[in-house]
């Protein structure tokens, strides 16, 4: 009765192996976090201490927060390449103006105002100019970078409030929680971002817009409004990361955000959110940020320089993207 064509030989050829069923796009990133952690414990002597784990989480928080807006813009069908410049702008704004004696409230209000303006411009430019966000945000990024550099020109002095330093210090506390503020902030904002994507109208409309902009328009999706919200959130998150960076160094540096040009996209992609838009989640980016932070720490720990780190990240992206790409079966698209 058994036809040879459905026998085990054929199944081996055409069916998916048990291993590939466990390791799929869904699970691979989640598996990588503990695996890499184990690798670090094994290779880096003395890694298993609270302060080194907290340092790792601070690194992941910075990247995770910077990638929050990136995740939203990519899901909505765009991308935000101005994030690093906004980080730099916020960083020099707070370090210089606080030294100049501005009140923190004023500085934060200015930062929020600037972020909204940048967000609106980033959202509207692709619509008005009919150019992809990839280009327009690259442009706004250069402009903002220029402003930040001009503003910080010649100044090497800066000051930040003491509490800001503790929010990014491995021994910092937040109220009764024995973790620095940035990690707590990341947890809270991550929960908000995940809920935003799942449970709000704008979140769902963002997915629709990313999946098929024309169909979204015909289904009554308020694309412009959705893009404005998403790009504004992205600029706000970048500003927040700039503020945390200021706490780190205390000195004005318009270039602090530059590594995040690629790293935010790396975190999103490694997490498994498609660059094509219309899919993914922030949970995935959290995982992606953890992986990138682990990889960087591991490479620094074994004395690899910045260039080697970037090389490894590049290889990781290509490998993972290849694995993810394999999984999406063309047959479901026909």
């Amino acid at each position: 009765m058994t036809d040879i064509a459905s026998g085990p030989a054929v199944r081996r050829l055409y069916g998916r192996s048990a291993l590939s069923r466990v390791i799929s796009v869904q699970t691979l990133p989640y598996l990588m976090v503990p695996v890499m952690f184990l690798l670090m414990v094994l290779t880096l002597s003395g890694f298993l201490s609270k302060s080194s784990v907290v340092s790792l989480l601070i690194l992941a928080s910075l990247l995770g927060l910077a990638s929050l807006g990136q995740t939203l813009t990519i899901i909505t069908g765009g991308v935000d390449l101005s994030i690093p410049s906004v980080i730099g702008l916020a960083e020099i704004l707070i370090t210089q103006k606080y030294a100049d004696g501005w009140s923190l409230a004023t500085i934060f209000l200015v930062l929020i105002g600037l972020s909204v303006v940048i967000g609106v411009i980033n959202a509207m430019a692709p619509i008005l100019l009919r150019v992809p966000a990839l280009i327009t945000t690259l442009g706004t990024g250069f402009v903002i970078q220029g402003i930040a550099l001009a503003g910080s020109h010649g100044f090497t002095q800066g000051k930040v409030p003491a509490w800001l330093k503790t929010t990014v210090s491995p021994i910092g506390h937040t109220w009764f929680i024995p973790l620095p503020g940035i990690i707590v902030a990341w947890v809270i904002l991550a929960a908000l971002a995940i809920s935003f994507l799942r449970f709000t109208r704008i979140g769902r409309e963002g997915f629709a817009n990313g999946a098929n902009p024309l169909a979204a328009k015909l289904a009554g999706v308020r694309s412009t409004w959705v893009l404005i919200v998403v790009f504004t959130i992205s600029a706000l998150c970048a500003s927040l990361v700039g503020v945390f960076f200021a706490g780190y160094s205390g000195l004005p540096d318009a270039n602090v955000g530059q590594p995040y040009f690629f790293e935010t996209i790396t975190a999103v992609v490694i997490g498994g959110t498609s660059l094509l838009g219309g899919g993914g989640s922030y949970t995935r980016t959290v995982i992606g940020a953890l992986i990138v932070a682990e990889l960087t720490t591991l490479l620094v720990g074994v004395n690899f320089g910045v260039s080697a780190q970037e090389m490894f990240l590049g290889i990781a992206i290509v490998l993972l993207a290849t694995i993810y790409g394999r999984q999406s079966d063309i047959s479901t698209r026909i």
């Binding site: 036809d3 064509a5 459905s6 054929v10 199944r11 055409y14 069916g15 449970f199 709000t200 109208r201 704008i202 769902r204 409309e205 997915f207 629709a208 999946a211 098929n212 024309l214 169909a215 979204a216 328009k217 015909l218 289904a219 009554g220 999706v221 498609s274 219309g278 899919g279 079966d329 063309i330 047959s331 479901t332 698209r333 026909i334």
Partner: protein
């Protein structure tokens, strides 16, 4: 084995094998829990035109994707030209001589018609044919399909859906083929274009080539095919000869139910009791007879005559015409997607006040909703779940300070899914539903919101005969509750069954506006060709 010792039957068997182009036996394929194909069996002879029939989700497209190397079977036997075949890729199948037109019109909108036709025929670097060969090949194919003079350098997105569909057919026939497979390759074509395509297919089959096609239109199936294989729930239940079979036989095989035949009679009679829509859909009181939409002196094109139509609550207005005569412009003007050259489109609100429609968003707000024609490009979010696709338009209503009321949307979905017998889970990606069920999801997106006017652009493309009948009932019940429907269709029979009045568009003008009770197929065809319908004898 020495030939001389073979029994004579073996020669007969050999002869049958030679006549057989392609044969599958007990083909099976599952997607996770879903058994899309269970045991499909099919023989395609040389020079034969063969139809593959079955309800939505019966596994036709899955079988076709196996034959053309897109997906692999879990089990079963596949013989092609006398030997065992197992195509590892669409390219391999193509190479062996199986050319396929898939159900979803696969195009790259930004590329030219020519590039779309030859896409994938080249190696990575080397072009396998010269530019002039490509140009003449494209022209020849388009000529054969009744699209002579189509500018092949135009980008694909500027073409109408029917033209795009024909380009995908051209794409299949420019490659050397022995077997041509058309998965609903005629669904967007009007009667005229369809006849051209059929003529081409008949010619090809007389040269010994074989054609396998699917269609949900029985008239098409019986007109074109010599034999019909019927699939039900992934299993072949019958292969019949067209000469010895009838519509109702085939429909009965498809559904496995006796009443299929009765349903068909009803369709032809145009009567039948109206099932009421689920409660959530029936929120508004019926106020049939009041005007809701007024088309006043609208001109669609520079040279066309102004037209005026008044649409009333509870009315179903049909729109007919040959491809490209202006019907699409008309429905797009009705829902604010484009502004007519002259005249106005006016929505009348509950209080009887007039509002001129200024934009699509404006029309939406005033309760005029539009179901687009090309579900892949304009309708669906392929990467999203069935539920997300259904609910996306509802969130404007179903939210509290921007937070979704998912429960309410789930309830809407469940009622709609039950009513229209939408199969599958709300959480599966919409792209894994069969074509007909995808169409139902799209219909549900707007009908579940109960618009005042629902503009439908050929909404039953790819829906099987029994489901169509159910959806006619559904539309009638929506109308009975006071919704006005505008229904553009390429099928005259459908318009005669469903509508109250039919507007026939010819060269941008309204050639006729007939009460359906007085309309006949002949009158409508006459008007479609620009003649006075009353002169038709």
């Amino acid at each position: 084995m020495p030939i001389s010792k073979r029994p004579p039957e073996a020669y007969a068997a050999d002869q049958a094998a030679i006549d057989t182009q392609l044969a599958v036996r007990d083909m099976a394929r599952s997607f996770g829990e879903t058994r899309a194909l269970d045991s499909a069996t099919l023989t395609l002879r040389r020079g034969e035109i063969h139809a593959l029939a079955g309800e939505n989700g019966s596994g036709k497209s899955t079988l076709i994707k196996i034959l053309s190397g897109v997906i692999r079977p879990d089990g079963g036997e596949f013989m092609f030209q006398g030997s065992r075949a197992r195509f590892a890729s669409p390219y391999a199948a193509q190479h062996a001589g199986i050319s396929t037109v898939y159900q979803e019109t696969l195009i790259t909108p930004e590329m030219s018609v020519r590039d779309n036709i030859f896409f994938g025929t080249d190696g990575l670097i080397r072009h396998q044919r010269s530019k002039s060969q490509e140009i003449s090949g494209a022209h020849l194919a388009l000529d054969q399909l009744g699209l002579p003079g189509l500018d092949i350098d135009r980008p694909m997105w500027t073409l109408s859906l029917a033209e795009r569909q024909l380009v995908t057919v051209a794409r299949a026939i420019v490659r050397p083929w022995q077997v041509l497979i058309l998965d609903e390759g005629t669904s967007a074509l009007d009667a005229h274009r369809r006849d051209r395509l059929f003529a081409y297919l008949r010619d090809a089959s007389s040269e010994g080539k074989s054609v396998l096609f699917t269609s949900h239109r029985m008239d098409e199936v019986f007109d074109l095919a010599q034999r019909i294989t019927v699939l039900r729930n992934g299993t072949t239940v019958a292969t019949v000869d067209v000469a010895e079979s009838s519509y109702s036989d085939v429909l009965q095989h498809m559904s496995g139910r006796e009443q299929a035949a009765a349903l068909m009679e009803e369709t032809n009679g145009g009567s039948g009791e109206v099932r009421s829509a689920p409660s959530a859909l029936a929120q508004r009181p019926a106020r049939s007879g009041e005007p809701v939409l007024r088309v006043s002196d609208v001109t669609l094109r520079a040279s066309s005559q102004p037209m005026s139509i008044e649409l009333k609550r509870g009315e179903i207005l049909g729109i007919a015409g040959l491809e490209g005569q202006g019907q699409v412009e008309l429905v797009e003007a009705l829902c604010g997607l484009s502004r007519p050259r002259g005249g106005r489109v006016i929505v009348v609100d509950d209080a009887g006040r007039d509002h001129e429609i200024s934009s699509y968003r404006d029309a939406n707000r005033r309760g005029v909703r539009y179901v687009p024609r090309d579900r892949r490009q304009e309708g669906l979010f392929a990467s999203q779940s069935v539920f997300d696709n259904f609910a996306i338009a509802s969130w404007g209503e179903l939210n509290r300070f921007g937070i979704l009321k998912r429960g309410a949307a789930r309830k809407r979905y469940q009622e709609y899914a039950e009513y229209t017998r939408l199969v599958g889970s709300p959480n599966q990606p919409v792209s894994t539903l069969s074509g007909g069920n995808q169409q139902k999801v799209l219909l549900g997106r707007w009908t579940s919101m109960h618009p005042t006017v629902l503009v439908l652009n050929d909404p039953l493309r790819g829906v099987d005969a029994n489901t169509k009948e159910e959806l006619y009932q559904f539309f009638r019940s929506l109308a009975a509750e006071g919704m006005a429907l505008v229904f553009l269709s390429t099928e005259i029979g459908e318009l005669l069954v469903l509508t109250d009045r039919i507007a026939v568009i010819h060269e941008g003008s309204m050639q006729a506006l007939l009460p359906t009770a007085e309309a006949t197929n002949g009158k409508i065809v006459a008007a479609m060709f620009g003649q006075n319908p009353e002169e038709e004898s």
